[in-house]
């Protein structure tokens, strides 16, 4: 079932890619322009998606003939898997105000607690690791990481 859905997604992506590519300008001296490769890739998405979806039809039929399809989606696991992504968005939005070091420490602390790390250990590792990362990148490699609240304090 996953493959059928993914196949359909790829087919839609292919149509969108071709539609967007058709709006690119053509070159006066040549019949091939900037739209050629994106259009070919869009075609590839569509055809590949079609093959992927169609190849799963026999499996789906087999499932349909059985009493019921066993759906086993672990929603809790998916939500926890998405937590790092949510925390990256948190970093993007909060780092300008909180600063890199505090944002990273918060992220690490939350992630460690989710996996049941003892609080004191999680806090200690988060603070030390975030400070090390911050100082390596900002002081040694001279990356302009946001200082945030630390600049106010210092």
């Amino acid at each position: 079932m996953k493959d059928v859905l993914l196949g359909l997604c790829f087919m839609v992506a292919g149509i969108v890619t071709i539609y967007v590519a058709r709006q690119y300008p053509t070159m006066p001296s040549l019949q091939y322009g900037p739209s050629l490769f994106p259009s070919l890739i869009g075609g590839g998405f569509f055809l590949g998606g079609l093959v992927l979806a169609v190849s799963q039809v026999p499996t789906l039929r087999q499932h349909a003939s059985e009493d019921r399809i066993a759906w086993s989606i672990d929603y809790q696991a998916i939500l926890v898997a998405l937590l790092p992504c949510v925390l990256i968005v948190f970093y993007i939005l909060a780092s300008d105000y909180l600063g890199t070091a505090i944002s990273l420490a918060t992220m690490m602390f939350v992630l460690m607690l989710v996996r049941r790390t003892p609080v004191v250990l999680a806090l200690g590792v988060s603070v030390v690791a975030s400070l090390i990362i911050y100082f390596i990148f900002s002081r040694y490699l001279l990356i302009p990481l946001p200082e945030g609240l630390l600049s106010v304090g210092g």
Binding site: K2, G33, P34, P38, G44, I143
Partner: protein
């Protein structure tokens, strides 16, 4: 001779040697912790190498990848969990040997085979690359078009699993490569009005998202953190190695040759090299029945092959700019950043840089022996490092690393989006290597096609007008037809085998 001395000087100085040592420790650590791959180690390393001189930067990558591939055997032996995918082929054999109390002997043999394989691949790299570069000097946009297409095609046909999924994975990489200003017309493509995308998508955030964030998400999506501490064996690391080397030297040679060859094929990395070498080793063995019961011969071929594959992958990467695996795909980007544009001219410039690269390969593989020995002795530290502490730290490195390439938050967004897509695709068994090759080779493919068309006024037959170009074109068509030919061959063979008289 001057260039060689210059190359030696570039490697044998305090800074580079220190970088090699640090990278060795980092590679061993990442390789030995299950779930962290060699490609992930290299992707995380790139933001730091960005600020180094070319030689230490390349030295760090070469050393890390070689060490990580060997270190993947440590948890494979003790926990039956391969540290990197390259150890997966023979993890059954090595863990069964460990259960017999021969873990250190197994790891010692792995180490020697890895060193031998790495050095074998390096020798091939040193001798084959310059001669191949002389041929490559005659290449024009027509040949580069076919070469890029050959690389992309092999990445699909060599991949393990569904070819349709490999093809779609490749298309994603190719689509990402089209983002930015078109080289010919200057028209912006898929930039959505974001100025940071005008120069195209930087491959480093993509790599970090694809290989590091994807793994982090997989870790949080799974529930298996608890590991039982293994009972570590006390047998001698190198005690039985001379006996094994004497008995299985042919396997080492065969595994290393196969590994170098497979590594040099675009899309096939150390993991595929190890699987094929294991299968070939088993089919040629006199003790075939002993395979799968904890047989040392089973690890010799594959363990030599995965490390030689790492060196082999550098041959097309250096000579043509076509990566042999995901790691060299990253390396090509680093080489460009360091002004060492991969291609045949890199061998003709007469600078010490290429020699320094060769020397780095030898040094990295040789120091694997003492550092690997220490790692085997202190195995417990690596295999019991809790991932619940490591993964959050790695996530922070991912964010800061992606940001540091252009000091742009757009790169962090790219890493995030690519990571989510890679996670979904990886859960559905899509291979990642074709996507990386698509991203790296997409620009070469399109630019060489467009410039060939400009030169020939849009005549498609011009791709077959030059002898080398026509041969490469024929090779590509042969690769495309290979599934059909294999099926025809099997159909032809089937009736013949049915009629063969039975002996019993």
């Amino acid at each position: 001779m001057d260039a060689l001395l210059q190359g030696l000087q570039l490697v044998f100085n305090g800074q580079t040697l220190l970088v090699i040592l640090a990278a060795a420790a980092f590679g061993i650590f990442v390789g030995a912790v299950p779930g962290l791959t060699a490609t992930m180690a290299v992707a995380l390393l790139v933001p730091i190498t960005f600020y180094m001189d070319p030689t230490p930067a390349i030295a760090a990558i070469v050393t890390t990848s070689a060490m990580a591939i060997f270190a993947g055997d440590i948890p494979g032996t003790y926990l039956n969990i391969p540290g990197t995918p390259a150890s997966a082929a023979y993890v059954g054999e090595s863990s069964l040997l460990a259960k017999k109390g021969r873990a250190r002997e197994t790891l010692g043999t792995n180490l020697v085979c890895s060193v031998f394989g790495g050095l074998f691949g390096t020798v091939i790299l040193v001798f084959v690359s310059p001669s191949l570069a002389e041929v490559a000097l005659k290449f024009s946009s027509y040949e580069y078009f076919w070469l890029a297409l050959l690389g992309l095609s092999s990445s699909i046909f060599i991949s393990i699993g569904s070819k349709t999924k490999a093809f779609l994975s490749l298309m994603i990489g190719l689509l990402l490569s089209t983002v930015g200003l078109d080289m010919m017309s200057g028209a912006p493509r898929f930039t959505f009005g974001i100025p940071d995308l005008m120069a195209g998508i930087n491959f480093i955030p993509v790599m970090i998202g694809m290989f590091a964030l994807n793994e982090i998400m997989s870790f949080y999506g799974s529930r298996n953190e608890v590991r039982n501490p293994p009972s570590l064996s006390k047998d001698k690391v190198f005690g039985q190695v001379p006996v094994h080397v004497k008995k299985y030297w042919r396997n080492m040679l065969r595994g290393s040759s196969l590994g170098t060859l497979i590594g040099a094929l675009p899309g096939a990395g150390a993991d595929i090299a190890a699987w094929i070498a294991y299968a070939v080793g088993k089919s040629r063995s006199k003790d075939r029945a002993a395979y799968g019961t904890g047989h040392i011969e089973g690890i010799v071929d594959a363990s030599s092959a995965n490390n030689s594959g790492i060196s082999g992958a550098w041959v097309p990467a250096l000579v043509f700019g076509i990566p042999g695996d995901s790691i060299t795909a990253i390396v090509i980007g680093v080489l460009y950043m360091k002004g060492m544009n991969p291609g045949p001219t890199i061998f003709m410039e007469g600078s010490g840089l290429v020699y320094s690269l060769f020397v780095v390969f030898f040094v990295a593989n040789l120091i694997m022996l003492p550092i690997g020995y220490l790692a085997i002795k202190s195995s417990k530290v690596f295999i019991l490092t809790p991932r619940k502490i490591l993964m959050p730290i790695i996530l922070c490195f991912c964010i800061v690393g992606a940001f540091s390439i252009n000091n742009s938050i757009t790169d962090v967004w790219i890493m995030l989006l690519v990571g989510i897509v890679a996670y979904i695709l990886a859960r559905c068994d899509f291979p990642m290597a074709p996507a990386i090759l698509g991203l790296v080779l997409g620009t070469t493919l399109e630019n060489s096609f467009m410039s060939s068309m400009l030169k020939s006024n849009g005549d498609l037959l011009s791709f077959f007008s030059r002898p080398i170009s026509a041969s490469l074109g024929a090779l590509v068509i042969l690769v495309w037809l290979s599934p059909l030919l294999v099926r025809l061959y099997q159909r032809y063979k089937a009736p013949h085998t049915n009629h063969t008289p039975r002996s019993s």
